[in-house]
């Protein structure tokens, strides 16, 4: 079996990945159109994301090696060849390495 990786006519743009430990799952329904959280930007690539009552601390970093973003292509009838499309390339990712911490708001501050 052969699966050809093809590019799109408009080229291969650069995308970005967000990497989080564990799984995220919606309380009800799907994720479509919902908000994941709010990012507050720190210095030196540090990032804080508020997700509900929790805070995730992360950092923007370069990937060790480039990542090809591959999408299965629908099989064209009458053609034996199977294709997959390289939609994008990823060189940067936002990584949340540590566990979420509860967001504590103090009025005293």
């Amino acid at each position: 079996m052969q699966i050809k990786l093809i590019s799109r006519p408009e080229g291969t743009p650069e995308w970005m990945a967000i990497e989080m430990h564990g799984m995220i799952s919606p309380h009800e329904g799907g994720f479509d159109g919902k908000t994941l959280g709010t990012i507050c930007w720190g210095d030196r690539g540090n990032v804080y994301m508020i997700v509900g009552n929790q805070t995730l601390e992360g950092k923007i970093s370069k990937t060790d090696r480039p990542l090809l973003v591959i999408q299965k292509s629908e099989k064209i009838e009458g053609e034996d060849e199977k294709n997959a499309t390289v939609r994008a390339l990823i060189r940067k990712k936002l990584v949340f390495k540590v566990r979420p911490r509860p967001l504590v708001l103090s009025t005293a501050a």
């Binding site: 052969q2 990786l5 990945a17 430990h21 799984m23 799952s25 159109g33 804080y48 090696r65």
Partner: protein, 467 residues
């Protein structure tokens, strides 16, 4: 707002801890009554915090950036990041430290559509460059194989990585925005997710010829193929058929085919020439060379027309062309070739020894002498890489070790050779791997890393086994 939770490993807590500490409830910014806290505080203080949390979530939901910024910038861990401006504003006014822009991460409306699911494959920069230059990238292998990714000329094994991380994908690149003087929100879309992650292993520096040979040999061209002509026309494999099963790049397959007795026919199909076919054809060619009346087939001058005139119909034109190109040397500016004696001897050696495996050297020399055209001398060095001469109690013995018929995997071939003879120098081993290792350096590296050795009296390294 956030109707989801992040799942993490449950932490072990004893009942006393539970009584003292209240775990942070999973947040829902849409619920104003959501509360958070770690240490039990006085009821008034707690109510204030609850109220502040609810206000914050309402502010985020309604896009009240000023309130959100004011609240967060007074609390950890945001105070360090967001308040840098107040400490450094004189020095870094309007620099990236002045982060008053907050980014809302929203799932796109088509996030859960099948088209938003992607596989991520970690690759070398050389693969990216090859792809950008327009080289084909192809994943190859049968369903039971570990997949490989091939560029036009290289092969990389693929490995699927098991991971417990969630990877979300954004079409835009996130970066700290240049913040305006007033706090504000910007929105970024999460456009897709990753369902599998893979990585490429280092490039394969050996030709995986085993399956290629197996496939081609299944449908080899036999000497008596004319007896089943119609049936035979359907046999053979096109390059594309081979690449469906063989885990090699196009260039690697083409390179491997050059070393094999394989002929390409006008219908685009490749056929392997059986040992019998080659033996019979070579016998006829030697007879032609010996025949004094045949002036168009001589060791010094041999042509397609000459061979075609004398060879029977069951030797197709393409096989004659293959013989001339693979075994002979073209004479410049002429449509003729020269057949080097060495090539003829080597081919005849394969023909003689393939069936028997080994025979006494004197018996072999006698037989070879009878077949070879008059005046051709045989030196023992000519057998390098196809046969080996060893001492036995009754005299010298020649053993067939043609790479074509040796095991195809490197380790098995090594074991086969070490079983035949215990000690080999690197130079003695190398010719038996010429068909699979195209680079001397790669082969030497394999031997050094994987073979056991001992030192001879002269200090030479002699290899004796595979680790």
């Amino acid at each position: 707002m956030n109707r989801f939770i992040t799942k993490t490993k449950p932490q072990q807590t004893n009942k006393r801890d539970v009584a003292q500490k209240r775990p942070a409830p999973v947040g829902d910014e849409n619920t104003p009554t959501a509360s958070s806290g770690i240490i039990q505080e006085s009821p008034n203080k707690k109510a204030e915090e609850t109220s502040l949390m609810a206000k914050l979530h309402t502010a985020i939901r309604h896009g009240d950036a000023q309130f959100t910024f004011d609240t967060l910038s007074k609390n950890r861990p945001f105070d360090n990041a967001m308040n840098v401006s107040s400490r450094t504003s004189k020095l870094f006014k309007n620099t990236k430290f002045f982060q008053k822009t907050m980014t809302k991460m929203e799932f796109s409306p088509s996030y859960s559509a099948p088209g938003s699911e992607f596989m991520l494959l970690s690759v070398d920069e050389s693969v990216v460059n090859a792809f950008k230059e327009g080289q084909g990238l192809t994943i190859r292998g049968e369903t039971t194989d570990e997949a490989v990714l091939c560029t036009d000329d290289s092969t990389f094994p693929m490995k699927i990585i098991e991971s417990a991380t969630t990877v979300l994908l954004l079409h835009n690149s996130l970066e700290a925005p240049d913040s305006p003087t007033l706090p504000n929100f910007q929105v970024e879309m999460i456009d897709g997710k990753c369902y599998a992650t893979g990585e490429l292993c280092p490039v394969v520096d050996v030709l995986n010829v085993g399956r290629l040979k197996d496939m081609l040999r299944e449908q080899e061209l036999r000497w008596d193929w004319k007896d089943r002509e119609e049936e035979e026309k359907l046999k053979g494999y096109r390059l594309r058929d081979l690449l469906d099963s063989v885990q090699m790049s196009v260039e690697e397959v083409k390179t491997a085919l050059i070393d094999l007795p394989v002929v390409k026919f006008p219908n685009g199909k490749y056929r392997y020439l059986s040992h019998k076919f080659r033996g019979e054809m070579l016998g006829l060619i030697v007879e032609m060379i010996d025949e004094d009346s045949n002036n168009d087939v001589k060791l010094e001058s041999i042509s397609f027309v000459g061979l075609r005139k004398h060879l029977p119909e069951n030797v197709p034109d393409q096989v004659i062309e293959w013989f001339l190109k693979s075994r002979c040397e073209k004479i410049p500016d002429k449509n003729e070739y020269r057949l080097p004696e060495e090539n003829l001897i080597r081919d005849l050696t394969v023909v003689i020894l393939y069936g028997t495996g080994k025979m006494p050297l004197n018996q072999f020399s006698e037989l070879l002498g009878k077949i070879l055209p008059f005046g051709v001398e045989v030196k023992e060095t000519v057998f390098e890489g196809i046969a080996d001469i060893s001492d036995a109690s009754f005299g010298k013995v020649i053993t067939y070790l043609g790479p074509e018929d040796l095991p195809d995997t490197i380790k098995e071939r090594m074991l086969h050779l070490f079983e035949y003879r215990k000690l080999w120098s690197m130079e003695q081993l190398r010719p038996y791997f010429k068909d699979v290792y195209k680079s001397k350096v790669s082969f030497d590296k394999y031997v050094v890393q994987n073979c056991e050795y001992s030192l001879s009296e002269t200090g030479e390294m002699l290899y004796c086994g595979v680790r």
